[in-house]
Symmetry: C2
Subunit: 220 residues, 2 copies
Amino acid sequence: MQTLPRLILASGSPRRRELLAQAGILFDVETFDVYETVGAELARDVEDHPDQVYRIPMELSRRKALAGAAAYENRWILGADTVVCYDGEILGKPADAAEALDMLCLLSGRVHTVITAVTLLRRQGKALQERAFYEETRVEMYETDRKLLQAYIQTGEPMDKAGAYGIQGRGAILVRRIEGDYNNVVGLPLARVYRELDALCREGAAIAGQSEYLEPGRPG
Amino acid sequence: MQTLPRLILASGSPRRRELLAQAGILFDVETFDVYETVGAELARDVEDHPDQVYRIPMELSRRKALAGAAAYENRWILGADTVVCYDGEILGKPADAAEALDMLCLLSGRVHTVITAVTLLRRQGKALQERAFYEETRVEMYETDRKLLQAYIQTGEPMDKAGAYGIQGRGAILVRRIEGDYNNVVGLPLARVYRELDALCREGAAIAGQSEYLEPGRPG
């Protein structure tokens, strides 16, 4: 709708692709190998201050965007990282069906949070332009009996999902209500991404305009 | 996952179809012509008591399910109706681009509610089994300038949508956060539908089991 720059999505997630396409944002996909363990200092900080858990996906989203910016100049790179948190712990992807059941039993009947951090980054020579943000969504799960959870795990859907469920798939039937952005739980705070990109473009236009005004004799 | 009955979806909405399919609920689609204006008494009641606005989609979802039950015996019919409410008023589908812009300007930067009512109904001879419920979701919109709203209207998406936006489409970029069930805003409170159907089946099984127990000599 607006003329936004064509992004490079530094993520292999098909869900993030679908979301960008849903908003009509143009993009290319490039995946980069990024070390997904955070440093000991940050890990310790977050252990001491569980309310700072957002710093972990912020760090990982930045690594992904930086890997993209190393490879591409003059393009906006989007790096994103999603974590599912319960009681100060980050729940990763389940290793097997037993771990998926443990996670789903833990979340059943309770409220957890999903944080997606996004880094937008553009390199021009050695200079980096950057905008980073995160959104947090509270997710309340229905209390669900083990039999239904086991049937859900049988579908295979939980195995590649942090927290062992996909809200955009059959996992929808586990979720009673959310508070916050839905797409953030799917993997990208789409509205916020659109608006931040739009703001970056306006700022870019404003800077270009101002520069022309200050240097009127400069060739166009 | 569970063995739920194969429904008849008494709705032409492609979004409701997609949601049932997402949860793995089997269904056939049949649309029925239903008079979509509620009686004067109910309209007056709701005007006097805006907190009872849910009674209108409840009534309309029941009409749709009844039309289905008149045509089909021994099948669970799902009727649903969604309304978008702001400040005690129901916002319908916009008649044209100007009305769409009025609606979107009204909702911009504010909170409105979306109510979807569902009636599940099965006729056996002249007897009706019925379960009806509704879910309410609060939707907070970003403050959005007219230029972007006009560009959104240009995509054509608002024209067949109550409230002039589709949260599952490009309209996602207008929504800051929700409180409640997301799929309810799309058009069907999917998790609740699944759980109510599951409960109906368990009750059915319990009644069948009890009946067998009470009449042990009855042929199977």
